[in-house]
């Protein structure tokens, strides 16, 4: 059997829907997510290990005295607005990093749903919720100056 033809179409398109004809648009949501991810990542990288080491291990083992081991010191530290601000950054910023990573991890493990709009709302919305909770906790637990 001989199949033959004139002028085969130079197959246009590729695997992206719409092929060569579609008009690309900057995805600002992803741009913002990535920016927050990067900020959170660097903050997590620089700040978290020392907290874990001191507050999670050395303090509980009584190797050193640590601010949160005693009610007095902990409360007086928490009353300081600079400390509050610091803790807000320490806790809130990394959550945008975590949200991003976990969402991508889900996609990597084969769950396409991780890409969907609901997933974006859940994950980054989750980070916003953690931020709000942190603010609330910081403002209500030990009011400034007490």
């Amino acid at each position: 059997m001989i199949e033959s033809s004139h002028l085969p179409a130079g197959g246009e398109g590729g695997r992206r829907p719409g092929g060569d004809a579609r008009v690309p648009k900057t995805a600002f949501n992803h741009l913002v997510f990535w920016f927050l991810f990067a900020q959170g990542g660097i903050i997590a990288a620089i700040l978290i290990p020392v907290h874990v080491l001191i507050q999670g291990i050395l303090g509980p083992l009584n190797i050193v005295t640590v601010v949160d081991r005693h009610y007095d010191t902990w409360v007086s530290a928490l009353g300081n607005p600079i400390v509050k601000l610091y803790l807000l950054v320490l806790i809130a910023a990394p959550f945008f990093h975590f949200a991003h990573r976990i969402r991508y991890l889900i996609v990597d493990l084969g769950f396409k749903a991780g890409k969907s709009m609901p997933a974006q709302v859940v994950f980054y919305g989750g980070a916003v919720v953690v931020t709000l909770i942190t603010i609330w906790v910081l403002l209500t637990t030990v009011p400034i100056g007490s």
Partner: protein
């Protein structure tokens, strides 16, 4: 004689990503571990939030968390957080690009300075955590 329909590539064997792809190479495995660090780190920060909340319990009922399981958990988190710091700082360092006096700053210098910043920050924070706890 037809043109485009005949050109539709038939019978290609499609690529399917196996679900366990990340177990097939060391690099992929460590990449997944890197992404996974987010989970323990997030848990630990949530604990810290709880620790802050506890300050509202009043002097009598205040009891900071210090159980053995918690310490073990922290040790594990520390390993993950160190892995996160090492990978993030070296990767972030290698992509930053600055110019100083019109010469591009080499990636290794940037990475070094990132690690230096980490060391300094850890020192300062560590100092305050301990000093404020006197």
């Amino acid at each position: 004689m037809s043109t485009s329909e005949a050109n539709a590539t038939p019978r290609e064997y499609p690529w399917r990503m196996p679900a366990n792809w990340w177990t097939r190479s060391r690099h992929y495995f460590w990449y997944i571990v890197r992404e996974f660090t987010a989970v323990p780190l997030a848990l630990w920060l949530l604990w810290l939030l709880v620790e802050i909340k506890r300050a509202g319990d009043g002097p009598a009922r205040y009891s900071p968390h210090g159980s053995a399981p918690f310490v073990i958990f922290s040790v594990v988190v520390l390993l993950f957080s160190l892995y996160h710091s090492f990978t993030f700082l070296s990767l972030a360092g290698s992509i930053l690009h600055f110019k100083l006096l019109d010469r591009p700053v080499s990636a290794s210098v940037i990475v070094m300075s990132q690690f230096a910043a980490w060391a300094v920050a850890s020192g300062v924070i560590g100092f305050f955590l301990v000093w404020l706890g006197r």
